[in-house]
């Protein structure tokens, strides 16, 4: 079983804005379709190593990217993954 983390966005605009900002950083991430078991905000999510999620969150909020939610996915082959919403305080853009 492997684990990775997802960040979802309220709109595609913010998903692409996130990508555009992270491109300039030394972050490892990938833009992926939102997994169907996550209540979809927009169709694109950011997938990253869970160790990096705090840093990515910080960069995105610093750049006024609105974020919808954080998730941890435990995957095993093609089985439906186990999805755990992450409670990360102060994640809403503009409220920091």
């Amino acid at each position: 079983m492997t684990a990775s983390c997802y960040i979802t966005f309220p709109t595609t605009f913010f998903a692409i804005r996130a990508e555009s900002i992270l491109k300039k950083q030394l972050c490892s991430y990938k833009m992926v379709p939102v997994h169907r078991v996550i209540s979809s905000s927009c169709g694109t999510a950011l997938r990253c190593e869970c160790d990096n999620i705090e840093e990515i969150k910080f960069i995105l909020l610093e750049n006024n990217v609105e974020l919808e939610g954080f998730y941890k996915l435990k995957e095993e082959g093609l089985k439906t993954p186990v999805i755990i919403p992450l409670a990360i305080d102060d994640w809403e853009a503009g409220e920091k």
């Binding site: 595609t12 605009f13 998903a15 692409i16 990508e19 833009m31 905000s41 927009c42 169709g43 609105e66």
Partner: protein, 388 residues
């Protein structure tokens, strides 16, 4: 056309020619990554998403808009003005507009007024196409909520004194909507420095993009009602349209192919430099005006000499000769394309004294050459001799 020539003096209607990349980009977008932006997350969609995002950023760079999420794409300036006017105004509001406004402003206002929703007052214009700002201070009412500023007239080319008008409006707590149909891409616009609340622009004129493109900037803190709701690709489980900008005002699939062309048009402007474009077009305008003034029986309207208060739009008449007839001869004998008649701005024509016959309008562009001007003036001289 008998001449085989195709000299284009109708850039105020739509610009032509376009930079080569503007022609190529829509085809490439449709052939190579025609995904529906915002829907699903596959490669084609992501490429389309990135294209839309880059176009939004380019618009932001051109107009100094710091937050590109406040830019929504629309069909053209008319569409953007409708989104702003109908999304901003409420029952009982009063609106200031001007005699220089285009039907893209007059008609949405006219509809709301006719339906008993709003009241309107027109800022008058002089015969030269200059707004009477002395009267402006007396036109506000307690329920005035919006002033619409025609940034540059599509009849006389006159540029409005934006800063003065916006300062006046903001001094009264009135929001400002700027119609930049004739100025976007033609003169520098800085929404931050000029304190603009809403800016409506089209993509196919000064921005050198394809038709079917344009947009609206909406300052943070202004929440427009959307007059259309529908698919956005986000929050699909809800039957209530998302309120987050820009999707709030962008229901339905965007014109990705057109926006690919618009992006290239804006890149051309940014690389060329808006001040270089402005200087070139103003020089061309001045050359035409100076030579028209010397022609017998020609009457010019609006500011006629070299100045910084006009865009490259020139209106004139030749005696009482029907403008349409002159336009017909210009095209069919000389291969020169221009616009004649009323230019969708009836009050502007009333102000300058050309209602209802209209004017002959020449609008050169960045690509107009001195040879084009020589040929145009030669043609007009011959036509004047012919109709005299």
């Amino acid at each position: 056309m008998t001449t085989g020539l195709n000299l284009y003096f109708d850039n105020a209607a739509t610009s032509w020619p376009k930079p080569e990349a503007v022609y190529r980009a829509p085809e490439r977008q449709m052939r190579e990554f025609s995904g529906n932006p915002g829907r699903s997350g596959h490669t084609h969609t992501l490429k389309a998403d990135r294209l839309i995002y880059r176009t939004r950023e380019a618009v932001g760079q051109l107009f100094n808009i710091h937050d590109p999420s406040r830019i929504v794409f629309a069909l053209n300036a008319t569409d953007a003005l409708n989104i702003a006017i109908k999304g901003f105004l409420n029952q009982g509001d009063h609106v200031l507009f001007s005699a220089l406004d285009h039907n893209s402003v007059l008609r949405p206002l006219g509809r709301l007024k006719h339906d008993g929703i709003i009241e309107t007052t027109m800022i008058p214009s002089s015969k030269e196409g200059l707004l009477d700002l002395e009267q402006l201070e007396n036109l506000y009412r307690p329920n005035t909520k919006l002033m619409i500023i025609n940034h540059a007239s599509n009849v006389t080319g006159t540029i409005a004194p934006l800063k003065k008008m916006i300062a006046s409006a903001h001094g009264k707590g009135v929001r400002v909507l700027v119609d930049a149909a004739q100025t976007a891409g033609a003169i520098p616009i800085d929404v931050y420095a000029e304190d603009i609340d809403m800016l409506a622009f089209t993509g196919h004129k000064g921005l050198l993009g394809p038709t079917g493109t344009g947009g609206l900037y909406v300052r943070k803190g202004i929440d427009l009602k959307s007059y259309r709701e529908g698919g956005t690709g986000s929050k699909s489980e809800s039957d209530i349209h998302p309120e987050t900008m820009p999707e709030r005002l962008e229901a339905g699939t965007l014109n990705s192919a057109g926006l690919a062309g618009l992006l290239e048009g804006i890149i051309f402007i940014l690389e060329t430099g808006i001040n270089n474009i402005r200087r070139t077009e103003n020089t061309t305008r001045t050359k035409i005006c100076n030579r028209l003034v010397d022609l017998k029986r020609v009457k010019l309207y609006g500011p006629q000499t070299e100045n910084d208060h006009t865009v490259a739009v020139i209106s004139f008449t030749i005696n009482d000769t029907d403008c349409g007839e002159i336009g017909y001869i210009l095209e069919n004998t000389y291969g020169i394309l221009c616009r004649t008649g009323l230019h969708c701005a009836p009050f502007a024509h009333q102000a300058i004294g050309t209602f209802p016959q209209g004017t002959i309008r020449l609008s050169p562009g960045f690509f107009t050459t001195d040879q084009d001007l020589d040929y145009l003036i030669k043609a007009l001289k011959e036509i004047i001799d012919l109709v005299s």
